[in-house]
Symmetry: C2
Subunit: 363 residues, 2 copies
């Protein structure tokens, strides 16, 4: 059925798992079934994905599996303990035991919530990810970060918990809105900026093809992004060191998302602005040239991403949010900046005025 199936392995010892990438994988039941321990399956999805792909996903399990589904409302604003509890309600109402397998069918929010539900239901059950947005395919499918938001901070409650496998079906991107395609490209650009100048240059040349949803270009970009992330995560699963570089653009980005209210800005859009800010700060520290800083901004613009700060936010708004960031160590604010284009570095900033000045300069 499927002539081109790429398999990437995320190497994490006994928690290692495969990522399957290909066109039409949602019809390939054999890929998924071998990763399911018992006959109990609970699919978690959202109201947007349900009419598009839920029946197709359920169909894979016709032979005697006990398949149930829980449908959450769509959006970052529902990524809370309250909606997490809806998953637990459904698992308990259906008398699911410790052998159940949870399947996340949706974007990053569904993936993060399902993963955390799997990590904590009965203190841990299996889960599988079927990411349906570009962003979740290149980001949350690797790394095992799961969780929910708190009113006072994004992703503040969660667990490191690895899936048994990830199935990336590039065919599902055909139904993805343009705005979400662009948001996903922000994370793709990030990998080029922080660790692969060659990939960054490839993106500069191929952004048009990606926006046109050329299948070969998308597959290459997804595969490269997952590989880059898998390499970093294999070195540092719990983010004690190099993994923090994956948060390039995210410290500022999270501040925007939290302050503006979850859902107003897409995660990738906030990361795009965050990357431009981080590039500017790297330039002002004399680490990268103004032309390299401009290349980050141009590539984001090419991907139809926002690059300017939201007018509503002032410097103290950013600082307030950034001080509760998980990556901070003692009193400093942890930033990820560019040592050069294609190489990120962690910078614990103890001087808030440096950050304030940069924000004012960019407003």
């Amino acid at each position: 059925m499927n002539s081109k199936l790429d398999t990437l392995k995320v190497a994490l010892g006994e928690r290692s798992y495969p990522i399957y990438i290909g066109h039409g994988l949602l019809n390939e039941a054999h890929l998924i079934e071998k990763h399911i321990a018992s006959r109990q399956v609970m699919i978690v999805t959202n109201e947007t994905i349900e009419p598009l792909y839920l029946q197709q996903c359920i169909k894979q399990f016709s032979n005697g599996f006990d398949v149930n589904a829980v449908v959450l409302p769509d959006g970052e604003r529902y990524k809370t303990l309250t909606y997490l509890n809806k998953i637990f309600d459904s698992l308990l109402e259906n008398k699911c035991n410790r052998q159940v397998t949870l399947i996340a069918l949706g974007g990053g929010v569904v993936g993060d919530m399902t993963g955390f539900a799997a990590a904590s239901y009965q203190r841990g059950v299996n889960f599988i990810q079927i990411p349906t947005t570009l962003l979740s395919q290149v980001d949350s499918s690797v790394g095992g970060k799961t969780g929910v938001n708190h009113a006072l901070g994004k992703n503040m409650i969660g667990a490191f918990y690895q899936p048994k496998c990830v199935v990336i079906d590039t065919a599902v991107l055909s139904t993805l809105p343009d705005r979400e395609l662009s948001a996903g490209l922000a994370e793709v650009i990030k990998y080029g900026a922080i660790c692969d100048i060659t990939f960054f240059e490839w993106l500069e040349k191929n952004m048009e093809r990606l926006l046109e949803r050329n299948a070969a270009a998308l597959t290459y970009a997804i595969k490269t992004s997952c590989m880059k992330k898998a390499e970093v995560v294999a070195k540092d699963e719990k983010e004690s060191g190099v993994r923090a570089t994956l948060n390039f653009g995210h410290t500022f980005g999270h501040a925007i998302e939290t302050h503006m209210g979850y859902g107003e800005w897409l995660h990738g859009e906030a990361v795009s602005v965050g990357m431009c800010l981080a590039a500017d700060m790297s330039e002002s520290l004399g680490w990268i040239s103004s032309s390299d800083s401009s290349r980050v901004r141009s590539l984001c613009l090419q991907a139809n991403l926002p690059v300017d700060l939201p007018k509503e936010m002032k410097a103290p708004d950013y600082l307030e949010q950034m001080k509760v960031d998980k990556k901070n160590v003692s009193k400093s604010i942890r930033l990820v900046l560019l040592q050069k284009l294609g190489e990120a570095v962690i910078y614990d900033c103890r001087d808030e005025t440096l950050i304030s000045e940069m924000i004012v300069r960019n407003q």
Copy 2:
């Protein structure tokens, strides 16, 4: 200051930790301070313990530590996601970062909730347990089971997460109500019944001294209980095998607690009735003699524990609850029974009528 300090080690590889047992340890700051990573400390306690021991606990940290406290209402009914979120509120309002150490100062509910909060705040921070009830000293201080209840099942949401150390100060038992002392003794009796006939016999001879709160007897019972549990947990941290024997009396016990509404029955009281039922079932299967079954019942009675089923519950009420128990495998109900007095065995029961008959017989 303290001439008698016992230290037990729970052997779990890189997650190993010490349990300190002694009289007056709450005044020995040096024990705790060496397990705290940074200066940020958040003490979680409840309204009952706050006036008794919170100030004494805070006093330990006078030298430049940043100590905050969150006080939860007291009781199993508050062991929910909603109240868990109060801990996250407090951590975020106080801008606690990933280096914070959470300290559980209280009984099993405070310990379970604080442990789960520590497991999930920013995907994992350090925690320390200072159990203030006999039950939590002999039970939740070993094993790393953390979590909250769900309306449809006890301890259904949680994580396996180990503390950095446990401080058992036997002096705090002086303020424990009699009813709670007895509830703690139920778990102590359990260790004798499932894995140590000599300890069981010691309890038969020394129950009076324990009820009189004789310090030497209590210390011996606590230390032996923790050792027994530590041995089992070291063999099977994630409860894939032998650890399940620690649930002797708990399958029936959880059914009682859940059906009667959290808080009506103390956990240890429900476990006492559950142990008597399990002993009766072991007898009816021909595994133990009627005189051994009576010894379990008598020892529970000696400890002033209930041994009869609540009149309000009928056989189907138990079965309904027992079917969602975490320990179940596929369609069977997992029970822990006695192969002989002093030796437990796991029994996956596929015949519900066996259970129904035994419940009817005991009503």
